[in-house]
Symmetry: C2
């Protein structure tokens, strides 16, 4: 059986990552990777579903034991992907979705060049700003911090393999784009550098 791919999805606040990923998870061949984190759970967050909430000591032990596929420190907390679970999912032929910040994505790309990196974006910065304000759930200070952070995130878009724009109500279309990208990427010529040799050998 063909192994599943590591699919990294990043996107700024307001890009609709959560909805698009929920849409993707409707097909059985995608599995969500639950990250481990040292930050405190927010109301409603469930251990083992949203995150594995662990202590800084435990996180450090896992890093030392080589049990993290990747990890990153963000706002003084660690976030990481448990290695064993990730490998098991891909061995089973399913694609593993990592929903991670751009810094983590760059680590994954360096460690696993065969992963597929996807940046989800609102149609434009002005639409993003309108969406964040439209939610009405965050203070002006938080909104400003997210918009500032967006500049750092979008600056790295060129390091991604695919860019998917999330137009109004377009979560299903975005999921379809991502499914296509994962399927097509298996056929991409860069994944078959020895195609000629293998063709005549086999």
């Amino acid at each position: 059986m063909e192994k599943g791919l590591l699919v990294v999805i990043s996107g700024p606040a307001g890009s609709g990552k959560g909805t698009v990923i929920a849409e993707l998870l409707k097909s059985e061949d995608f599995v969500y990777s639950v990250s481990a984190t040292t930050r405190a759970p927010r109301p409603g967050e469930v251990h083992g579903k949203n995150y594995y909430f662990i202590t800084k000591e435990e996180f450090q032990q896992r890093i030392d034991a080589g049990e993290m596929l990747e990890y990153t420190c963000y706002c003084q907390n660690f976030y990481g992907t448990p290695l064993r679970e990730a490998l098991a999912v891909m061995e089973s032929g399913k694609n593993l979705i990592l929903e991670i910040e751009v810094e983590g994505a760059m680590n994954v790309k360096r460690l696993y060049p065969e992963s597929v990196l996807i940046m989800l974006l609102p149609p434009s910065f002005s639409v993003q700003e309108a969406r964040l304000r439209g939610r009405g759930t965050e203070t002006e200070e938080v909104i400003q911090a997210r918009l500032t952070r967006t500049r750092e995130e979008v600056a790295l878009v060129g390091e991604y393999d695919y860019i998917v724009y999330n137009h109004q109500g377009g979560a299903a279309a975005c999921a379809e784009d991502i499914r296509a990208a994962v399927r097509a990427d298996r056929c991409a010529i860069r994944r078959h550098p020895d195609a000629e040799k293998l063709y005549f050998e086999d």
Copy 2:
């Protein structure tokens, strides 16, 4: 409306191009480009469906008038893609399939770097040989010529964007791969070199 893409499909004898393309054409967003040729029609071939059969003089006039999107000379006959029809299809938002030899594909890539090049291959050379012999419709001499030609074709696979393997009975899966490639290619980062700039400008 987003313009359609130019989709070049090449593949050696026995790769199943005809069946896969017929499968692709079941969806309305793909249109087959009927080539013009100076070779004589074979029994059963229909002018305007399989090819536009025209004289060498007419072909030359069309080249001189800039009315061929690409053309190539193969076995002392011209083969080419009528430009006006091709542009009309893509303007309408549909993808245009060019089923052409590797030489023509290289011309298209040079002239239209934004086209998508797909090489369809049997699983291996030995499977291809078995398939050609299994047909029982060609002389040994013709089979040998096709197998020799295959080496020239597969030597260019690295110039293609995608490689699609046609396993036994896999025409539907191949068509799905090609559909995914065309959809994903629109999201490929190389098609969005100014994404960051445009995001903040818009």
